[in-house]
Amino acid sequence: MLTVLRGGHVVDPATGKDGVGDVWLEDGRIVAPPAGGKADREIDCAGHVVMAGAIDIHSHIAGGNVNTARLLLPELHRAIRARREGTPLSTAKWSTFETGRLYAQMGFTTVVEPAMAPHHSLQTHYELNDVPIIDKGALTVLGNDDFLLRQLRAGESESAINDYVAQTVSGTRSLGLKCINPGGCEAFKENMRAFGLDDEVPFYGLTSRKIFQALQKSTQAVGIHHPLHLHMNNLGIAGNIQTALDTIDASQGLPLHLAHVQFYAYGKEGANAFSSAAAAFAEKINAHPNVTVDVGQVMFSQTVTISSDVLKQFNSMPGGSPKKGAIFDGDANGGGIVPYAYKISNYYNAIQWAAGLELFLLINNPEQVFFTTDHPNGGPFTAYPELFALLMSAELRAEVMARLPAEVLEQTTLPSLKREYTYYEIAQMSRSGAAKLFGFTDRGTLAPGSIADVAVYKESRDKAGMFRRAAYVFKDGDLVVKDGEVSHYRRGKTLHISPRFDKNINTRLDSYYEELYGLPRGIFDVPDAALPHKDAFAEVACKV
C-alpha cells in the first residue's frame, strides 16, 4: 500500500530537511515520491511535525536487574486501567508490554537496553521479545569479568582480547559493549568501598583506566560501530567532575561513549559542598569530538535506581526511599536495585536536575549528546516529553527554577542559559545522531529506502503533550498509533551484530568454564533453539 503523509513540517537532519513536504511509504519502507503516483492512503499532516521514529540509546527495559526492581516494588506500579482490545497486558504497569506501548505512543521505534550481563543474556532476550511494536537491542557488559581481567593481567595480545570481546558480543546477540565501573564491582567483592580511575583491582593489578582503554581499543578493532559505552567510576559523588575530565583525557582520541554524564557533573562548591560542574564538563566534551554522551537527566519523581555498578548501589542504600533494596553479587558485575525519590525541594536533587539541563544546553553538537533519563535511574522514560519541553523553552525552565531551593541557583549556570532546542536539534539528538552512534543506516531518517518508522506530532504550544501522544506512528509502515493510542501489536525485531573472531577462543573458553566452574560453557549460551522467536532477530552490519 502506497501511503503519503501530506504537507507536514518534515524534520529529517540526516537529509538536511526542515520544511513543509510530503513523506511517502510503501511496503515497510520510505520511498521517493512516485512520478505522478497516486497514494492508496493519504494522511493530511498540515500543522504536524513529521520525523523518523525516535531511537532511545540507553534505557533499562529488560533483564534480571530490571525484573528484580519490578518484583521489589509492587507498590510502585499498581495498574488502574483496563487494556484495549488486541493489546494484551498493555496497561500492566512496568511490564514489557506496557513498555512497548508507551514508547510507541511517544513515537519511539527503537530502544537499546544498555546493560546485558553475559551470563544472563537469555532472560534479557526473552524480556525484549515481549516488548511489542518497537525494535530493540542491547549492550553486553564486560570489564568486571574474571576472564578479561586475567587476560589483561597476563598481558595477552590485543588480538586475544579482541577474540574474546567479539565472541561475547556475538554470542550474546547484542549491539556492542558496555563497561560499568571497570574493576570496581570486582573490587567491591573484596570489600573496597570506593574505586577511582587509577585504583587497582585487588589481585589483578589493573586499574579502571587500563581496563576501559583495552575494551575501547578492542571495540574499534573488531568493527563494533557503537563506541565503548562507559559507565565511569565514582558515580553520584560530590567532586566527581575530576573523574569525568580525567576519563576523557584517557580516551586516547578513540571513540568513547560516556553514559548518564549528569551523574558525574558534580563539584564541591557551596555551603553543601555539592555544586554543578556541568559547564566545565560540557566544555571538555565540546573539545573532544571523539566523545559522545547521554545525559541521564533527573526528573522530579519517585523512581528506582537499577545499576550493575554494585559498589555504587550498595553505597546508595542508606539514602534509598522506600527503604529497601537488592544487592546481587553476580558472576561479574551483578546488580543493585535501590528505590529513590527525586524531590524538587531537595538541594542535591535540584542541583542534579540543573546540571543535566546545563549539559544539554552547553554541548554544542546535538549529535554528540543523547537524550536519556537513564530510565529509570534519573526518572522514567515517560518523562521524556516533559524534558523535550524544558529543552525547547527557557521560560518553562525559569518556571521550574523559581520553585527550586534558592541556594541551588548560585551553584549552576542554568539561569544564564537561554538556548532553546529546535525541532531539528531534537531530531538530531533522538534520530540522526542516535542512528549514527549505532551504525544504523536505515533508521533514524526519512531518506527513501529507510525503514518506514515515522512519528507525526500535532504541533502545539504544549510541547510535552505533543510528544507524549503522537498523532500517528508508523512502525515498518504499519500505522500502530493514532491520536496517541496504540491500535494493535506487531512483533518488533531485536537488532544485533556478529563481529568475527578466531574460533579458537571457544576452545579456550570451554576449558576455562570447565576448570573454574566445572560447567559446560553452553549452559550460558543463547542458542537459536532457546529463543522465543528466532526470526525476530535482525543483524546490523559491523564496520568493515
Binding site: A62, G64, V66, N67, R70, L71, L72, L73, P74, H77, R78, A79, I80, R81, A82, R83, E85, P88, L89, T91, A92, K93, W94, S95, T96, F97, H119, H120, L122, Q123, Y126, E127, D130, K189, E190, N191, P202, F203, F314, K323, K324, G325, A326, I327, F328, D329, G330, D331, G334, L516, Y517, G518, L519, I523, F524, D525, P527, A529, A530, P532
Partner: protein, 367 residues
C-alpha cells in the same frame, strides 16, 4: 501422539482444546493454576489467564513468596552458586533437607575445595551447617554442625545477630562461648554466604533475620546469600510473571489489568471458596495434583503421561527438559538456560497446548 481424555474416555486433542476453551471462556472467574511449566509454558499460561480475565497461581507460590516477601519488605543480598563456589570463604548452610531441594548443591559449591578468587583463595573454607538432617551431616567433611530444628533457626540467627551487634543475650556461659565463636567466624569472613531454601519450610521471619544479619555484616565486610528456587520451575515462572505483569503469581485480571494479592488469588482458596468456577491445572514436571479439596468445579489438567486424573478433561503434555528441550531457570547459574531433552518424545509442550486452547478463546473479554 498426544493423548487426551474426558472423564477417563479418550477424545481427540483438537476436541479437547476446544472443550477446554469452552469451559474456561464460560466461567465467570477461571483459574490458571499449578503452572508447573517451563518459561514458554508459563508465558502462554499467563497470557491465557489475562485473555480470560481470570487469575493465575503457581503450586509452589508459598515458597517463592516467602523469599519475595522478605525482598519487598526488607531487601535482599544474593549471589550465584558459582560466585559462592569460587569466592566464599565462609559458607553457612541453613536448615535440614537442602540437598533434597537441590541434589546438586554440594557438588556445585565444591565446599571441600578452597575458594579460587579473592583474598582467601587457596585457604580452606569454613562451613557451618545449621540443623542438617542425619544423612546430610557428614556430607561436608570438616563442617561445623550446629544442631537445630527448623523452628529454632530464627532464634539462633537472632542470637548471632545480637552478638555481632555487641548486644547482650541471656544464655549460659558454655552456650554463649559457642555462639560467640560462630559470631566471630561470621565477622571475620571476607566473602561469606548463607545458603537457604524457603521450600524446606523456612518462614519469612527467619529469612528476614538472616538477611538482616547479612546487612549488619556488610557494614564491615562482605557477606551475601544463595537461595535455592522452589519446585516445578517456580523461579522461571516468577521471572516470566514479573516481566509480563509486574508481579509474581497470585495475580488476577478480573478488572482487565493485573492485581497482585497473595491471599485473594491463592489457588486453593479461590477454588474452595467457590470464587473460581473453572480451573486449568498445569503440572508438567511430575503430575503433582492440586491441593484444593473441592471436586465439583470443571477441571482441565495438563500433566505428563501417567498422571491423568479420573475426573474432568485431561491433556497429556511432555515433561520440560525430558521429553522436549525447555528453557528453565538453572540453579547452577541463577540464570535461564536451555535444557536439552533427555528422552525426546512427540508429546506437546505446555505452550503448544495452551496456544491451541487460546486459539479458541474469543478476544472479546467479558466485562
Amino acid at each position: 501422539m498426544s493423548k487426551a481424555t474426558l472423564d477417563g474416555k479418550a477424545i481427540a486433542l483438537e476436541d479437547a482444546c476446544k472443550e477446554a476453551a469452552r469451559i474456561l471462556s464460560g466461567a465467570t472467574f477461571p483459574l490458571v493454576a499449578g503452572l508447573g511449566a517451563d518459561v514458554p509454558g508459563a508465558r502462554a499460561a499467563i497470557l491465557l489467564a489475562e485473555r480470560l480475565r481470570g487469575a493465575f497461581d503457581h503450586l509452589a507460590s508459598r515458597d517463592s513468596l516467602a523469599d519475595l516477601d522478605v525482598k519487598r519488605s526488607f531487601g535482599m543480598f544474593t549471589t550465584t552458586a558459582n560466585e559462592a563456589r569460587v569466592r566464599s570463604d565462609v559458607v553457612v548452610l541453613l536448615g535440614p533437607g537442602l540437598t533434597r531441594q537441590w541434589p546438586g548443591l554440594l557438588e556445585r559449591l565444591a565446599l571441600e575445595q578452597a575458594p579460587r578468587h579473592g583474598s582467601q583463595a587457596g585457604q580452606p573454607r569454613k562451613v557451618i551447617w545449621v540443623g542438617p538432617e542425619a544423612d546430610e551431616a557428614a556430607a561436608v567433611p570438616g563442617a561445623k554442625i550446629i544442631p537445630a530444628s527448623l523452628q529454632q533457626i530464627s532464634g539462633l540467627l537472632a542470637t548471632w545477630r545480637a552478638r555481632i551487634g555487641g548486644r547482650r543475650v541471656a544464655m549460659d556461659a558454655t552456650k554463649l562461648e559457642l555462639v560467640d565463636g560462630v559470631a566471630q567466624t561470621l565477622k571475620d569472613a571476607k566473602f561469606g554466604c548463607f545458603v537457604w531454601a524457603s521450600s524446606i519450610g523456612l518462614d519469612p521471619l527467619a529469612i528476614e533475620m538472616m538477611q538482616a544479619l547479612v546487612t549488619d555484616l556488610n557494614v564491615t565486610t562482605r557477606f551475601t546469600g544463595l537461595h535455592l528456587g522452589a519446585r516445578a520451575g517456580a523461579a522461571g515462572v516468577v521471572q516470566a510473571s514479573g516481566w509480563m505483569t509486574g508481579f509474581p503469581p497470585r495475580t488476577g485480571f478480573g478488572r482487565g489489568y493485573p492485581e497482585h494479592d497473595p491471599w485473594r488469588f491463592e489457588a486453593s482458596r479461590l477454588v474452595d471458596s467457590g470464587e473460581a468456577d473453572a480451573a486449568l491445572w498445569i503440572s508438567a514436571f511430575d503430575g503433582e495434583a492440586p491441593a484444593w479439596s473441592r471436586k465439583d468445579i470443571p477441571l482441565i489438567t495438563l500433566a505428563p503421561a501417567g498422571a491423568a486424573p479420573a475426573r474432568g478433561l485431561y491433556i497429556e503434555v511432555g515433561q520440560p527438559g525430558v521429553t522436549h528441550d525447555a528453557v528453565l531457570m538453572a540453579q547452577e547459574t541463577g540464570g535461564m538456560t536451555l535444557r536439552a531433552a533427555s528422552a525426546p518424545s512427540d508429546a506437546p509442550t505446555v505452550a503448544q497446548v495452551i496456544d491451541a486452547i487460546l486459539a479458541h478463546v474469543s478476544e472479546v473479554a467479558p466485562c
